[in-house]
């Protein structure tokens, strides 16, 4: 480990209608929070492919945060429920791979809850900071070749295999 203090890097997937708007509200209200969370805007939390979470960990994230509308408030009726289902399926798999539960988080944050964005981002940053860097990731990042290469063909097998490979390499 280098002497530089560990700064966790957290990738957040926020839905356009509630949580991304809440993050904007946090900004408009000048609520200060940890700069470790980097937000990617999706139209709906239901768009979060489990691959996104795995890809984030593969590419060096120490934590992944997913934000959607409260149940019943989804702009697309129940995309957030789909997100929840996938999240619950993904979590035990990540656990098996050695990704602690605190590194992945799903939160319902409405457009009015700028303060919740602040709180969740701060909390998660501290939790992941306490856990330390994610040990699964090799220093040399695996960057998939895009556009010319064929699409990833299966949601579940490819990233899992790659993660297995990475776990093998780690062999603490």
């Amino acid at each position: 480990m280098s002497e530089q203090p560990f700064e966790p890097r957290i990738v957040a997937f926020f839905c356009n209608w509630c949580t991304y708007t809440a993050a904007d509200l946090a900004g408009i209200s000048r609520m200060q929070y940890a700069p470790n969370v980097r937000v990617i805007r999706l139209m709906c939390s239901g768009r979060v492919d489990p691959q996104f979470v795995l890809a984030a960990f593969r590419d060096g994230a120490d934590g992944v945060l997913i934000g959607g509308c409260h149940p019943g408030d989804c702009h697309y009726q129940e995309g957030n429920v789909n997100a929840l289902r996938r999240f619950e399926l993904l979590r035990p798999m990540l656990r098996d791979l050695g990704v602690e539960d605190e590194r992945v988080r799903l939160e319902w944050i409405s457009a009015a809850e700028g303060d919740k964005v602040q709180r969740v981002c701060n909390e998660m940053t501290e939790q992941v900071r306490a856990l330390g860097p994610l040990r699964l990731v090799t220093p040399k990042r695996v960057t998939p070749k895009r556009v010319t290469s064929p699409r990833v063909t299966s949601t579940w097998t490819v990233p899992v295999e790659r993660a297995d490979e990475l776990v093998g390499q780690e062999a603490r």
């Binding site: 239901g46 702009h75 998939p144």
Partner: protein, 670 residues
């Protein structure tokens, strides 16, 4: 949506990305080292140009982008500035003006998500760089898309028949648009119809409102549906399908002439049931009309209290009295389905329930009234014909008005209800004028901003209304001295003289604040808009888009968006009508390009997506075992894309590759 090699199709020789970093005055540059971000951006692959400017959204800022595009220096654009919810449309337009597809554009929010929320300048700069890196990687992968237009239906739905809905409906109807005005109560008019006079001009409320109410009813371009509510809304901006439920009045609206003979002849000789319109201060019969100028002037039968409905045994003298045979006791709920291009919500507010503050004795002491009850007492068409009398019929000699009931109170509602100071002054004036009573106003702060409002306050002061500055601690009937005997006593600290006062009064008026309607959450779900935690509907932007919502085609007017007085409400209703006219008269709306599509070659025919689509936009060809998306119906959530196990479903502007690139970008070491 076309993926064509049309005239605009561009990428000969790959992407050339222009990165434009905005200072936003000092909003960004005060925290983020903009020059460092520009320098960093210029090192990123495929970035041809990186520039910064004070205000990218200004004309010269946009011109920078357009010029670079026109001169062929760049063919894709990244703007690092505010939130895409703020200016994405602006910069997409600039990109199109420069001769490119507007979707060869990506925004990095380094104001709302960076400079405004990060304490440390270095950390903010690093985060800004990461977001720019993400946008650059992503925009390089953007596909060529053309803007999609959809036709706008010319008809408009206005929900709520208070002064907001009435004003908006009349403006639209005057402009030649057909308006459906849906009101839940049996009459339009809303709260304004209950008031006696309006501040600060003291016009008679009915005199200025009822002509508008009848104009609504007689206007050929307005379909007025009272005693009706919206039960389902489908579709999207420009093309909504709305289902409206009509509750049975048991009287055929078209036949009733409003002669009110039937009410006279009802088997109940006297009114027996609380009259909701008069806040329970008078009694009505099971068949009634809320007030004489009710619009439409059609009676309604209340099945909960009508003897015929309760027992099936009644001589039905009402039916005998009707010369038009307007009764139909077999009426049931009916439904209408309408198609409209835009929707205006003017669903209003409710007043604070004063019984939640037991210290003020509402519901316990008969002489404690809410302001709305007093409005009815003062109204010439009200329960006492405009006489200010207590429940026992006597005239109060001393009246105390307590401001901020339920407002500016951490235990109840934290907001200022905006209208209470002014209406309390108005009530003080009218009470004093009508019966010469001594009037005490207990206030925390006097808030009278508005044209003629401070002048009104001055006038009331000169009339000799007593003003006590201090929040009232309580109202009691326990006398502490002989002169308090038989009176209600208001206890308050007078903060201007620094002592606690006990003031005996005969009548207490509670200036109840404004609250969202109890069903605001249901209404907002129905129309797919958002509201704050307290329940006021959220406007798209508090200053620049005050009547728009985050759902295109749905607009707000009046107090459903926040406490408002009548002038503000009418102004907002006009603004909402103007927004709708802009949309309807243009005849089309630009739709988001972010619909889903399915690559047939990779589709495995598993049908996962078919059941997931909330809008039924995905159909399945059983013969070919392939799914396909109807892009007109697709709303672009991407749920099917997130679920597709073979990666065949993709979403324009949110493809897997684009998101993967963005993930790499935000994680880039900077």
């Amino acid at each position: 949506m076309l993926e064509t090699e049309g005239a605009l199709s561009p990428t000969n020789g790959g992407p050339k990305i222009g990165v434009y970093v905005c200072h936003c005055g000092l909003n960004i540059a005060g925290k983020v080292d903009v020059e460092a971000v520009v320098e960093f951006a210029s090192t990123l692959p495929a970035v041809a140009v990186a520039r910064d400017y004070k205000f990218m959204c200004s004309d010269p800022g946009q011109e920078l982008i357009e010029k670079d595009l026109r001169e062929g220096l760049v063919n894709r654009v990244v703007v690092a500035s505010c939130s895409p919810l703020m200016h994405e449309a602006t910069f997409r337009r600039a990109t199109a003006e420069g001769g490119q597809s507007p979707f060869y554009f990506q925004m990095a929010s380094i104001r709302e998500h960076v400079s405004w929320v990060t304490a440390d300048g270095h950390e903010a700069t690093d985060k800004a760089k990461a977001l720019v890196a993400a946008a650059v990687r992503r925009v390089a992968l953007h596909e060529y898309l053309e803007p999609r237009k959809a036709e706008v239906r010319p008809d408009v739905l206005v929900v709520g028949g208070g002064i907001a809905g009435i004003s908006a409906a009349l403006t639209l109807a005057e402009a030649g648009k057909h308006v459906y005005l849906v009101e839940r109560e049996t009459t339009i008019g809303g709260h304004m119809a209950k008031f006696d006079k309006t501040f600060p001009t003291l016009d008679c409320s009915a005199c200025i409102l009822t002509p508008k109410m009848s104009a609504v009813r007689s206007h050929p371009n307005i379909t007025l549906w009272t005693y009706s509510d919206v039960v389902a809304v489908e579709g999207f901006t420009g093309d909504f399908t709305v289902r409206v439920r009509h509750r049975p009045r048991y009287v055929i609206e078209e036949l009733c002439t409003g002669c009110l003979e039937c009410i006279e002849k009802c088997i109940h000789k006297q009114g027996k049931f609380d009259d909701e319109w008069n806040e329970g201060l008078s009694k009505r019969k099971p068949i009634y009309i809320p007030f004489p100028q009710a619009t439409p002037p059609v009676v309604v039968v209340d099945p909960d209290t009508c003897i015929w409905f309760k027992t099936g045994k009644c001589p039905q003298t009402c039916i005998e009295a009707c010369e038009r045979d307007a009764f139909d006791f077999a009426q049931t709920e009916t439904f209408d389905e309408i198609k409209v291009g835009a929707i205006i919500l003017g669903t209003g507010f409710k007043t604070f329930d004063a019984s939640k503050m037991p210290e003020y004795g509402y519901g316990r002491y008969p002489n404690v009234y809410t302001s709305l009850e007093v409005e009815r007492l003062l109204n010439a068409a009200g329960p006492t014909g405009g006489e200010v009398v207590l429940r026992d019929g006597t005239r109060p000699k001393v009246v105390g008005i307590i401001h901020c009931v339920g407002s500016r109170d951490a235990k109840h509602n934290v907001w200022c209800s905006k209208v209470c100071c002014m209406y309390s002054l108005k009530l003080a004036h009218i009470v004093k004028e009508r019966i010469g009573a001594e009037v005490y106003n207990f206030y925390i702060d006097m808030r009278t901003p508005g044209k003629g409002y401070e002048e009104f306050y001055d006038k009331i002061l000169k009339e000799g209304v007593h003003m006590v500055r201090g929040r009232v601690a309580g109202v009691t009937d326990e006398a502490a001295s002989p002169e308090e005997e038989g009176h209600l006593v208001i206890r308050a600290e007078d903060t201007l003289i620094g002592s606690v006062r006990r003031i005996p009064v005969d009548m207490v008026i509670l200036a109840v604040g404004l609250e969202p309607r109890p069903d605001a959450q249901d209404v907002r779900r129905l129309f797919n808009i958002s509201c704050g935690g307290e329940g006021w509907f959220t406007e798209r932007h508090p200053k620049l888009a005050p009547v728009s919502t985050f759902t295109d085609g749905v607009f707000l007017a009046g107090a459903c968006q926040g406490p408002k007085d009548i002038p503000d409400t009418v102004a907002q209703a006009g603004a909402a009508a103007a927004e709708v006219l802009a949309m309807v008269d243009r005849g089309y709306v630009m739709l988001e390009a972010n619909t889903a599509h399915i690559d047939e070659a990779t589709c495995s025919g598993c049908k996962t997506c078919v059941g997931l689509c909330p809008f039924g936009a995905i159909s399945f060809d059983e013969e070919r075992k392939k799914a396909s998306v109807n892009e007109v119906v697709c709303k672009g959530c991407g749920i099917c894309v997130g679920a597709c196990p073979s990666g065949a479903a993709q979403q324009h502007l949110f493809t897997d590759e684009e998101i993967f690139a963005e993930i790499e970008g935000v994680l880039a070491y900077v």
